[in-house]
Symmetry: C2
Subunit: 132 residues, 2 copies
């Protein structure tokens, strides 16, 4: 089961649009957090750090939801349901720098903490609902 | 288990800030949708219509997550986890008009469909995480 992200909403990933990213807690309840989002090769990429709650949740249950709202028009948005296909540290440092460039206009991600291990979640898209 | 929404973030409910609202699908997977949000008597109120997916989800599993982002600063936001305490149609029509006033500047909700039954979810707050 996979779905294609609609072409006419790809511009959301060019803009500094945040994703409202939902993972599942150990008891199955949802947790929703604003995150930077990227689109690569038909998948959504999210970057976090090893050991954070999102990271622990995704290693236990790969099911996610993401809503991306157009910052210029909140009635235009895309909702995605999907599943983390791959969790990797390979390329995660370069990727967070790329996200810092997009969202902050900075070449290097400025909030890196000592000892922090960045991690990249590659999310396959299973359902898409677009509005506006 | 209940938590208090922090006073210094109450202004988010005065602004036209959307909530990224998550419910759980029948298989336990998350679904996240932008919604209008209200704050009343220590609870978050969300308005939908009977029979929609959110409505069906909430009648089966009351657990929700809501992220509310400051429209003037996406790095300032509040994440809430909670539970629907009450589902009611009482007052739901008046409430959607109130939300139309807040978000659209209109006295009456303009998108009402024939036969639509509005419904109000009163959500008790269990966990709050505020940033920015």
């Amino acid at each position: 089961m996979s779905a294609t992200f609609p072409d006419q909403y790809r511009d959301l990933f060019q803009k500094k649009a945040f994703g409202a990213f939902t993972t599942l807690m150990p008891d199955g309840g949802p947790q929703t957090t604003p995150v930077w989002v990227d689109y690569q090769d038909g998948e959504i990429w999210v970057n976090s750090a090893v050991g954070r709650r999102k990271d622990r949740n995704l290693r236990r249950d790969p099911r996610v939801a993401i809503a991306v709202i157009d910052p210029e028009n909140p009635y235009r948005y895309v909702e995605v349901r999907g599943r983390v296909r791959e969790i990797t540290q390979d390329g995660a440092d370069a990727h967070i720098d790329k996200m810092a460039k997009k969202y902050l206009g900075q070449d290097k991600y400025p909030y890196r903490q000592p000892g922090e291990q960045r991690v990249l979640y590659k999310i396959s898209i299973e359902k898409v609902h677009a509005m506006g």
